[in-house]
Amino acid sequence: MNTLIRIALLGLALLAGAVQAADPLVISGGNDRAIPIAVVPFGWQGGTVLPQDMAQIIGDDMRNSGIFEPIPAQNMISLPTQASEVIFRDWKALGAQFVMVGSIVPAGGRLQVQFALFNVATEQQVMAGNVSGGMDQLRDMAHYIADQGFEKLTGIQGAFSTRLLFVTAERFAVDSTRYTLQRADYDGARGVTLLQSREPILSPTFAPDGKRIAYVSFEQKRPRIFIQYVDTGRREQLTNFEGLNGAPAWSPEGNRLAFVLSKDGNPEIYVMDLGSRQLRRVTNHFGIDTEPFWGKDGQTIYFTSDRAGKPQIYKTNISSGAVERVTFIGNYNANPKLSADEKTLVMVHRQDGYSVFRVAAQDLTRGTVKILTQSNLDESATIAPNGTMVTYATSSAGRGVLMLASINGRVKIPLPIAAQGEIRAPSWSPFLK
């Protein structure tokens, strides 16, 4: 048995949605630092250079969680590729607490990858396994291995095989912009265009099945809500009401969609049953009600409303219609997102007396608010399904970019998305099968 100590997960306590029943094995005493892990470059027997560095991808994944700090390959004393080659004193010298090795072997037109993970202090193997795939699946295999290792070491399901939706906007003139809706790996790699338009696209969001998405498109010169199957591209226009049609949000079971319509004179939240197409109005106030987000019970909807003058977050029960205010700190709170354990509300927040917009997290039990981001036009926060990371849109040197931050605040990196123009409106997928 490894002498594993329960992690205090100081930062993670904020949002560790997925920990729940899982028993965090794990690790190390000092929690002020990320845990040093060495992911050694994987051995490769084939002739050509592989297009992706699996060890690099795995190390980046571990780092993005904010819990681990990968040791740079150039600092490594030895480069073992299998269990028998690991010399533990090399890794002790580097201060690594864990070391992962792996090797890639061509096998009948495919690649066979073997990997193993060791605890340096105990010199014991924590995990070993193998995975196979095509040359174009090196990233998938790397994310898979990272998921396995992450869960083994933290007890938290890995979310490195998840995906991200986002919108790009390449502007040529005030009335000439090329918009795309893209899906990429959670880390921004391998973006695929799902929709292209000369008119705005906004608010893309994954259904709980990970197969369907909903979004708002202006392709008919008006905002209308569409549903699209990611794999086949089949799409359907869901709404065509006068006025605003916006802010789609899938119910937890994926059979209903909440959204905003202003057909009755001002923005209200409605719920549509996707089977019967029956529409039901949820809010009833002359102010702005928008940005619905479902609670897991399928009954509660969090939303933004300016009914008290400034935008604040409220929740309502869709059966009783009772409305309760949720946010009280700050003069602007909008776009509510709940962590998986529903203990934390992530939102766009402006502090009293400030003009900047940041992403903040409110502890729903204690009511305290913690600011997670540091620039001044931060928005569209989306939480990883395991609650360890958040991605948001911000502006960097005048250009819209996406940032990924670990919930514990250790990591904050721009997502390297290969796309022209502004990048905005990120939306994290659920765990995918």
């Binding site: 802010a247 933004t304 776009n335 766009v348």
Partner: protein, 167 residues
């Protein structure tokens, strides 16, 4: 006449401000004029222009972008004067127009969609009060999806808080 001068100067100042805001942005958008596509619209057949009230009206008719203060959907007095002329035209010709509501970059996208609509509706309400049929007017909010100026300085923000009347 004082009014006319004021109106023209305001329009000119705004145009200059817009152009300046854009060119300072640099990059491949440097040459872009973020000027309302309808700004050059001129009513023809409206007489010689020697008639001062006709010229006044033509100048107001050329104004198809109406600006708003931060976090406000209240029409400014200059907007009302121009809208009075548009209302007269709309009543006369029965044509349909779209009122495109826009916001500045602050705040969330969907909340800004609602704010942009509120501005569009303020213009709609004003035109209806002047006797224009609601059937002639459609409000479409773009929120902050179609910025007139991409900067985050106060001037750019001010240029973005607008309603465009589009024929």
């Amino acid at each position: 006449m004082e009014m006319l001068k004021f109106g023209k100067l305001t329009a000119l100042a705004l145009t200059l401000a817009i152009a300046a805001g854009c060119s300072s942005k640099g990059g491949d958008n440097a040459g872009e004029g973020a000027i309302d596509p309808n700004a050059g619209y001129n009513a023809n057949g409206n007489g010689s222009g020697l008639d001062s009230s006709m010229a006044d009206e033509a100048a107001l008719r050329a104004i198809t972008t109406f600006y708003f203060a931060y976090d406000s959907s209240d029409l400014l007095p200059e907007a009302m004067r121009a809208l009075d002329v548009h209302a007269k035209d709309l009543k006369a010709d029965g044509s349909r127009v779209v009122l495109q509501g826009h916001t500045d970059q602050r705040g969330t996208r969907e909340y800004n969609m609602a704010l942009g609509e509120r501005r569009g509706m303020a213009v709609q309400r004003y035109l209806v009060l002047q006797g224009v049929s609601p059937a002639q007017l459609e409000v479409v909010s773009y929120g902050k999806e179609r910025l007139a100026a991409t900067g985050t300085d106060e001037d750019s923000m001010a240029q973005n808080r607008r309603v465009n009347l589009v024929k």
